[in-house]
Subunit: 191 residues, 2 copies
Amino acid sequence: MNELLDYFKKNISISLEIEDKLKEIIVEKNLVKGELILTNDSLKKEHIFVVSGCLRSFYETENAKEHTIQFAIKNWWISDYMTLYTDHKSVVSIESLTHSKVLIISNYKLEQFYKEFPDFEVFQRKNFEKRIAALQRRILNLLALSATEKYNQFIENYAEFEKIIPNYQIASFLGITPQSLSRIRKEKFKN
Amino acid sequence: MNELLDYFKKNISISLEIEDKLKEIIVEKNLVKGELILTNDSLKKEHIFVVSGCLRSFYETENAKEHTIQFAIKNWWISDYMTLYTDHKSVVSIESLTHSKVLIISNYKLEQFYKEFPDFEVFQRKNFEKRIAALQRRILNLLALSATEKYNQFIENYAEFEKIIPNYQIASFLGITPQSLSRIRKEKFKN
DNA sequence: TTAATTTATTACCATAGGTTAACTTTCACA
DNA sequence: TGTGAAAGTTAACCTATGGTAATAAATTAA
């Protein structure tokens, strides 16, 4: 709870009233390794803020192949934007990769919070801009880079993640098979 | 100009004062086919609203290969989010694919406009949410689909674009070569 | 600690899609 | 309206990555 407040306070000033309001709408939850917080097939519209640990959102195709949309650690938001803003059933699952602690806010309550606290609206709009930039960069990487290049970029940009996340999930984030990643790693670390 | 106002008015109510302010900060521009409105190498931070015609943002790699980030038609925004929110030089170019008319707003002025007109902030935040959902969907498609499947999705979702946009640019949007796309089209339309 | 399960590696073969290059069609504009 | 350039197609060949399967290593649970 306080972690989210700290995170906000780094960027905007928050009155006690707002603080109380926030505490009211936030649900704290501890997750064990492997626990699913959002399953595909659900209709839940909620935002998840990671206090500690590591989460992953992914999409499972008919042939049981997983595609990782996002990893999230401390101070990151993770949610299924595709169902958040449509009325379709979720196709995305979110799982905890470690023991973790998260804060959950329902989209409905968050919308109300925006209204009561316009500064947060501004803060969030700026967050979204940065996120759009990041997503566009990822798209460019997917379009332009070879498997090896994508992996190198990944360990450069997500050094903190690399130790926590199993390789087959990194592979599913990069759009390659675990076997391919193994091949790449063998080459990379052969000296 | 009025087109942007109409677009806003569909979603939010705008006072005459705000209307005047908008007219003040917007620059209207007509583009001929092939004209570059933003070149890589520039430091311009601006948002482009398409009134008519069709634009494309793309990234050019060292080996002169183009990768299309986005197409935009009437009532769409297009800009280089990666440089908009960093201090790096742009690596992205934006070109007009047809005769088009656009409205340009500098990012600085837009930030001021947000302050003076909080309703627009809300409107924009919601736009960004939808855009994030769309970008995540594109990432999923890039991760999960074969070249043929990506092309089929494209003509389904972007039917209006398909007639305007040359195939080699569609290929560069899907992350495949023009030759590959040709092969796919041959198969698809062979009956 | 051991057994069971999950993850990672390796090898071998298959293939989608890339590359090169020649040819055809379409388009812009002189 | 003709000509040169740009875009699209086709074919032959090639390569990076996928698929399958067997084994090894690591992690989890008992």
